[in-house]
Amino acid sequence: MLGLTLREVSLALREGKVSPTELCQRCLHFIRKTKFLNAYVTVTEEIALKQAEQAEKRFLKGETLGPLDGIPIAVKDNFSTASIQTTCASQMLKGYIPPFNATVVQKLLDQGAVLMGKTNLDEFAMGSGSTDTIFGPVRNPWGYSRQYQERCAQNPEDTKDSSDWLITGGSSGGSAASVASLTCFASLGSDTGGSTRNPAAYCGVVGLKPTYGLLSRHGLIPLVNSMDVPGILTRSVHDAATVLGVLGGHDPKDSTTVPEPFKPFSLPDEIDVRNVCVGIPREYHAPGLSKEILAHWTKAAELFEKAGARVVEVSLPHTQHSIVCYHVLCTAEVASNMARFDGLEYGHRSTIDSSTEVMYASTRHEGFNDVVRGRILSGNYFLLKQ
């Protein structure tokens, strides 16, 4: 049952093959069993069961809210959730309980989704491994798969002991792992420079980075305001489209969302790519690209060609500068966004408080890890006029 896609399990719920409460309990059980993955920071057992109960009542009356009603989901721990701890995997916000829900979280809850918990991430979404977190790194479920264990056994010189594990990628590693380990049917991540797509690839799930401005960022604790988007992780492309349909649309609380009305769409059952033109950027064939990746890339291009799509080479001439530009812009915004963490209104406050300046400095030193502090310093350097 847990291996089904969202679409499939939604159908099963509607057909009465399984009840929301049962589904919720199974997921909770699985979360307990896969605790070693460290995918969850907070498991919201009581809340989930209550929500499942309410969904059940709706199903019995035949008044379901939509395709997400009764479906267990997980949310990355940098989305504000009312009355539920939101830590961003940082000392700075450990124990911080927001008084409001992020818009996308609210939309999920309004559709009857059942919140399993908040997932682990790189501190403040800075990282691509989900290893820089105060709660310990997230482990890739595939590292415990039978195939991987067998492969390890076949190569004695590569024997790893039981403390070896594989990373999930990041920064939405917890979200990817939670979906890949079948503890939920969809989860929310965030994507600034690949933080949803990267862990999705590592964990073998679908990771969608919606276009900036399509989904509201209200309540998403920002990394880079001009690049962040809430990301969607699911086990099938159809599921991603379903969730996108629920979450998209203008939000008056977020002035960067596109004002035009959003029309949810559905994917056709038969995908016809004959009208699709696929571009392969020549600059992405960069030195150092592994043979395995090149082979898969080529294979994907051939698949499209065989199916009738037009596959052409394109040029993105500034590719070589992109990472540098990203770093400058990212660190500059980080330095700005992190300025609000001073221990005064919320979050961690240092006990060293001989003066306001000293308190600020010690709070921020204690609250942030090296990565965050490094980016703040770089960002301030870039923003300085002289």
Partner: protein, 529 residues
Amino acid sequence: MAASSAGVCTACTIFRLSGRYWFSRTFSYNNNFSSRNVQTTTLHCQSQPQTKRKTDPRKWVGVVGLEIHAQIHSNAKLFSESGVHFAAPPNSLVSYFDASLPGTLPVLNRRCVEAAVMTSLALNCTINKKSLFDRKHYFYADLPAGYQITQQRLPIAVAGSLTYNLLVRQKWNQVVTKTVRIKQIQLEQDSGKSLHDDTRSQTLIDLNRAGVGLMEVVMEPDMCCGEEAAAAVRELQLILQALGTCQGNMAEGQLRVDANVSVHQPGEPLGVRTEVKNINSARFLARAIDYEIQRQTDVLESGGWILNETRSFDYKSGRTTPMRDKEGLQDYRFMPEPNLPPLIVYDNKTVPAHADPQQVVNIDQIRERLPELPNVRRSRLVEQYGILPEHSFTLVNEDGLMEYFVSVARETKAEPRKIIGWIIKDLLGLLKQHSLNVSQSPISPMSMAELLNLLEAGTVSSSAAKQVFQELWKGAGSSASQIVQKLDLGLLQDRSTLEQICRTVIDSHQEEVRAVRGWGIFHLPSKVE
């Protein structure tokens, strides 16, 4: 435009240099701390001997620019829905965004944009149809986000002017008109308030004011002294109050003024300027600026040089002192505000066809709705009532006085000029003496009108009327007519009674009558009055 500050200031008493002894100094005009060159060249003497001057022979002219923060009169703050009220319980008007809770985003308040457009139009500015928001970073406890959202790169309006009036008291009560250029008007957030509790070594933060909308009006250094600055601020206050975009109460912090002050000799480059902050009323503004001009003059006279620094005005001592925590240059690390798209305002030509009127600010519509501005009002009063310009100046300048005058004028046939005399000399005089404002006047417009009608009808003489006025002021509740009756101040109207009284007086004062006939001096004995 530096020439405008090089003329003789009409209100100041700095005399023109015409003595032949002078030191030549070279200043490098800059705002930074770089080393300054102060050279003293040889004393230039002319061959002719000079009379010794008692007054300061060097002419130093003040150069004053202003940065005025006007709190926008709106129901909600600039980027959040919290209310805007003075003296509310601490931290009772703070939304999640104002407290900088992570994940909250700014949403622009349309009323604040309209207020800025209205003010810009009233100050003859060019409105930038596209303006941008930026973040200005510094750490301070009353700035929860660690940055202020302002408009540094491209503000909403630029290049305007403010015309203001000065009453020249020395001669003929003349009104002099001056103009100051407005460099720009920008929208920005106000900060919270810090209350320093030194006894418990703690600071208490009230965020009620954090995020309230401000219009920063930057005035170029076209003014030369405290009086000009105060007059300019007063006129701005009247304009803002007429528009309703700011209530302009300096005591409540709705209008805050920082002055940039420097001195120089005409023809020389501008001197190093200091910024004077913490000025809480229009009265202190003039004093603070004049003190600073004098202080800088004294320093330069004694061979010193001016530091580019921020100074705080202490109203108790009347002096400015350096503000310690603003030492050194601050780099505000300006960055575009990524959560706010460019602010676009429209006019009738550019407004999109199917735009939602709730989402659009139309400059032309706002211009049509502008209320009567103070200078228009003054001209109208002069034209409508035939009063002198300096009188309409006073009427508009005193809160409520114009309305008082108009009410009185409605109820009496007395000539407006006469009414003006009573209102400005007598009523306003007494009000000032007792530190009352017009709304607190014990004499209502109706009472005043009644008194004037009695005077017009000849029921009382002008000196009796003054007495009645004094009685009315005491506010015992009697009307003018009642007071006249009670104190028997009425003029006798009956001719025969008058003749009889005169006869009696003449008969009993024969000596005086002979004297009068002899000298031709007309002097009425007091008995007849």
